[in-house]
Symmetry: C2
Subunit: 250 residues, 2 copies
């Protein structure tokens, strides 16, 4: 069933008022009719089955007929701290990372990031990433939309990381040296409700200085298997490993 | 160090003759000079450090100075049997799947595949995918290039699957129903040298009939966590889980 994320303010008297792109999607793209059902996810992650009662040019009203007990989120809050990559790779990472269950994306200016982040255009970029995250969350049947943060410097990143239960830095040089137990060691310790932040370098990788600085601040160096992954592939491997370990491994 | 895949016939008297795109890449793109070193990987997965001895307009000759003991491949042979997806998704799957360690890609015509596969253009498409696999293998420092097969029907796919140690069908309906132990159960049994084939549906998913038919032929239904993954994301999750379980999990 098609699902839509709605703000709590859109719910009044057990009815949801869907507007703008969502209303357009329901009436024009999906061509749904009165009496048909859809799923609405609220800001606090609750999920309701709703029946369409009214369709106008501007909005759609759907009555909540049942609250569902859905559990589609990773048991831990995972933030991907991504060294700003080139071109549209951040969009790719947000889309696929959302499908794989990330809770937050925090881009940062790494030493080897060569992308400029224009303050004015920056807000628009974040909005575009938020839209991608919302659509990917709907498509993958999640109950929460990941948070997209504006890019920060490494000092702010470290400040931000202090609230996390576990901190990992994914470093390809460690893969070359054969490090292989740190990631599974972290994932084995995770309890439901914990938070985990993973730092990933941009195209040229992290510098040895950045890695040292992160490690001085509580980050654990982890490799992701024996092969060298592209910057946009590493977060997906990481998220799949988190899901596999916490959701599927007996 | 830059690496190149060479055929055994290119090695004579402990010297490697690199031609065409590789020669162009060495002399024009990387602008390497005589005396500089590169890595050559042979067809049987052996890896040599070589020193450039001669650069002409047509070829580059490099002397083998040392055979290296590299182990960059997954301990198991993994084939991604991918229901033919739309547009350039197969290219994406081959590129990222190669980074993640797949040994073979076998596209198949699923009931819900809507792509036409033109016999004449088909060979060109396979060649293009082979080029993508070769470049991704070089970039990720693998020692083997994955095999790209031409698309088959489901009966041929089942015939082909008979030689594999383990067979999995990744089915999103099982994720919705909460199945979660089958994948880890298969991965726990894997021994080094085993082979594993995973069937993944196209955009619309596999039909219940296809899944039943595969299961009658020894495939095990597996879910990939609680979220619904796009067709091009599922093989990456699967490969990351195989790598994580076989290479990193203690």
């Amino acid at each position: 069933m098609q699902r839509y994320f709605v703000k709590n303010s859109q719910i009044i008297d057990n009815k949801v008022k869907l507007m703008d792109q969502d209303a357009h999607h329901i009436s024009r793209v999906m061509r749904m009719k009165i009496g048909e059902c859809l799923i609405c996810c609220t800001e606090d992650g609750k999920v309701a089955k709703c029946e369409i009662q009214e369709i106008t040019n501007d909005f759609v009203v759907a009555a909540i007929i049942k609250w569902l007990d859905e559990d589609k989120e990773l048991p831990v809050f995972v933030t991907i701290a991504q060294g700003l990559p080139k071109s549209d790779k951040l969009e790719f990472i947000v889309q696929k990372g959302t499908e794989m269950g990330a809770s937050c994306f925090l881009p940062f200016f790494a030493s080897r990031s060569i992308v400029k982040w224009d303050e004015k255009k920056g807000r628009k970029k974040v909005e575009r990433l938020e839209k991608i995250a919302k659509e990917a969350a709907e498509q993958s049947h999640r109950t929460k939309i990941p948070i997209i943060k504006e890019p920060v410097g490494i000092h702010e990143l470290i400040e931000e990381s202090k609230s996390y239960t576990y901190k990992a830095v994914l470093y390809e040089e460690d893969a070359k040296l054969g490090e292989k137990s740190n990631l599974s060691s972290i994932l084995s310790k995770l309890d439901s409700g914990d938070s985990l932040i993973a730092v990933i370098g941009p195209e040229g990788g992290l510098t040895e200085q950045e890695v040292s600085f992160l490690c001085q601040n509580g980050f654990i160096r982890c490799s992701l298997g024996k092969r060298i992954l592209r910057t946009e592939t590493a977060p997906l491997y990481f998220l799949a490993a988190v899901s596999y370990h916490t959701e599927l491994l007996g």
